[in-house]
Symmetry: C2
Subunit: 435 residues, 2 copies
């Protein structure tokens, strides 16, 4: 028989068992925290009607989708989880209970040019609250990020927070409402260019000396969260929008303190804008303090209108997304994520020879009944080969069931981390391995 | 702005939040048991190269796949989880540790004619052990099914077990080895036709009187597991394959007893064949005793060769698959699955008015820190509307934070199941709602 070479398509990633165990551990942390904050699961189809999924239209997106026809259906694979959410909420609006909190963890598809760390199939982990204008809700997102990244254990991290109303109000107040998009674009790259280049670009965008000066003053506001707020107030720029933005930021900071999110982990940063069109209120970005090169690992914000291309109903919301596949890739590359075990079971039960198979089966059954994930290894191999298997798999314990020990009701337990062995009564095994 | 009608493509299912919570509960049970038995997670891409995914070729399958080209890639969406497993094992064989145990829970895609309960996107939940010939391993599958369906709580169920070597050996022994496929096909439908029709069909297939008689005797073997085994022995048909099959079935039964799987839940049934080509050893089917119309909810068996179209390496294995989407659909239709809650949080914290928002945020934070999934509701609604929200959401408890109670360090807790309220000290709230 002619063989086909077993391989995946370029840009499509899959993990080894040990990597997948680690990836799932992170995904479980995310899901656990999302659920603890009352977000309900949603699982929309991967394939949707192109007419619906691409209703918003335009942009790079449309060039990057996997789209095809099948029979009379023009179908597209989802490229994010936001458009499916918009479609879902618009479709089921009469039966949903608002504010509607949902999380969705799922794969999305983009036919991007394949390159290291860029995948054509990758996970997004989204939460959104739709239909709430309560400012307290905006504070739940940094609190959620705080819990998730604390549990991840990749060191310290900072949630950078801003409010689009602060930005827009500021521009409005200095007479730049109409060119705010251009100025935002310039501010966005200010960390990469010199001060002189910045001034030059702002002048080219048509700003007069006073406006340039205001922008420089505004973007140089730093310090503690309280310091940033008071410097914002000291600008004495007259703009209702700016005042509202400052008030919302203050409320957010207050709520985060009530939630006991460590002050070092959230930081008002006036340079954060998160794109130009979608967000209208609070915006978030998250950076790992020790791995800034990874970029933002969790971003989002507040928007006025989730689904205007499906419905006239106004659907304001707030949401964030964790790009888990990319985060995993980067931290795996950096040697921060180091998978250890090939099995979700921490131990393996092995008969020394065939005569102890039944006893081994019984011992494994007892351990599993006690809720202990257990592997049973009954291959007719020599003990040497069995131990090599256990080593490669990365078990914590090997329970060796031998004739001699069994006679006195014992088994031999090898701790694979400490490389020590002990003879343990079968009746005490469950306690021993779960200690 | 012209609106696009928000809708999904025909045959693509999605759940309401309360259904999804219930679906996930079942999926978590499956995953939990799979992991307890030491199966490692695998998550292969949804899109694969058509040349690879369709290497096996032939059959209905190829007509039903979603296949398209993008750039120079001819891609197909996976239609099951077995072919991706075969590809994965063949591709990574040198680095995998055998026996290789993996589970995969994921969506698969088939462009079938859309009809009630038939989906074009649905979940399969598969486990396989690759590279083990140990008969004990075959017993782990009914033990796993036993644990999963016990936890599901859909009443009693039976794992029907057979061994293809018993069937093949029997046919060989009565001189029907060459026409065994035809006879199997007839046996397969014997529950739907009369005895006379059966005899008629067997004669048409070329069986002589003695052979028809043997087949009738064979297929009428019933009774306890021990009774079936002894009747099989009493057939006194000379076939090594039959003898091996009987011995394997006996070993399987013995192991299941050692594992303390209730005898009522596994039953040797000589009529089970599970298709004609793939399986070569043990075969399994599972039926819900109270809902036989659902058909088999978990099937599988032992095969000699997982990946012959990719590799010359012999890769024998055993596996089962749970068709969770179909099972969920059927039991939801039958009123067995009745979703209750719209939120993974069992309780909601609500300020009576704005002045108690900060206290409510603090109380919710304390509950969440204690690991209690908590919803925070801070919309500026009247209490009536708030309670209506809580009712629709299906919470167990509503924690109402009011000025008067707060003054003395209390909150009002309404139990939504018993429709009673109690005033509880804030400091005792965590204990109260987790009791």
């Amino acid at each position: 028989m002619t063989k086909v070479q077993a391989r995946t398509a370029s840009g499509f990633n899959e993990y080894s068992p040990s990597e997948q165990i680690e990836f799932n551990r992170l995904m479980d942390i995310i899901r656990g925290v999302y659920e603890k904050y009352g977000f309900a699961p949603l699982d929309t189809p991967v394939l949707e009607l192109s007419e619906v999924l691409l209703a918003k239209g335009g942009g790079e997106t449309e060039q990057q989708v996997y789209r095809f026809t099948r029979g009379s259906n023009d179908l597209t694979m989802r490229y994010d989880l936001t458009v499916p959410l918009a479609r879902y909420v618009a479709e089921h609006e009469p039966t949903l209970v608002f504010p509607f909190r949902r999380y969705q963890i799922g794969k999305v598809y983009r036919a991007e040019r394949a390159q290291a760390g860029r995948f054509r199939e990758f996970y997004q982990c989204d939460i959104d609250v739709i239909g709430s204008l309560s400012a307290v809700i905006d504070a739940e997102f940094p609190a959620i990020i705080n819990e998730i990244f604390s549990q991840f254990g990749f060191g310290e991290f900072t949630v950078r927070i801003n409010d689009r109303r602060v930005l827009n109000g500021f521009f409005e107040g200095i007479g730049l409402a109409s060119s705010s998009r251009d100025v935002l674009r310039i501010i966005d790259k200010m960390e990469k260019i010199s001060r002189d280049e910045l001034v030059d670009e702002l002048r080219k965008a048509g700003l007069d000396d006073q406006q340039v000066d205001s922008v420089l003053r505004f973007t140089s506001i730093t310090g503690s969260n309280d310091a940033v707020i008071s410097q914002l107030r000291e600008l004495e720029i007259s703009s209702e929008q700016l005042d509202e933005g400052i008030a919302k930021l203050e409320a957010l900071i207050r709520a985060l303190r009530v939630m006991e999110v460590p002050e070092s982990r959230f930081k008002v940063d006036l340079k954060i804008a998160r794109g130009l069109d979608y967000y209208t209120g609070t915006v978030y970005e998250t950076v790992l303090d020790d791995y800034p090169e990874v970029g933002s690992v969790c971003s989002g914000g507040r928007y006025d209108d989730l689904a205007s291309y499906y419905t006239d109903t106004s659907l304001p919301g707030v949401g964030i997304s964790i790009g888990l596949s990319r985060l995993f890739y980067k931290l795996r590359e950096a040697g921060v994520i180091v998978p250890v075990s090939q099995s979700p079971a921490g131990l393996v039960v092995m008969p020394i020879d065939e005569a102890q198979i039944a006893s081994s089966v019984a011992i494994a059954a007892t351990l599993r009944k006690a809720g202990i994930a257990t592997m049973l290894y009954t291959e007719p191999d020599k003990v040497n080969k069995k131990m090599k298997y256990a080593d490669r798999m990365g078990f914590d314990f090997v329970v060796l069931v031998g004739a001699r020990e069994l006679e006195s009701g014992n088994v031999s337990v090898r701790n694979m981390r400490t490389r020590t062995s002990a003879v343990i009564p079968v009746a005490e095994l469950t306690g021993y391995v779960s200690a």
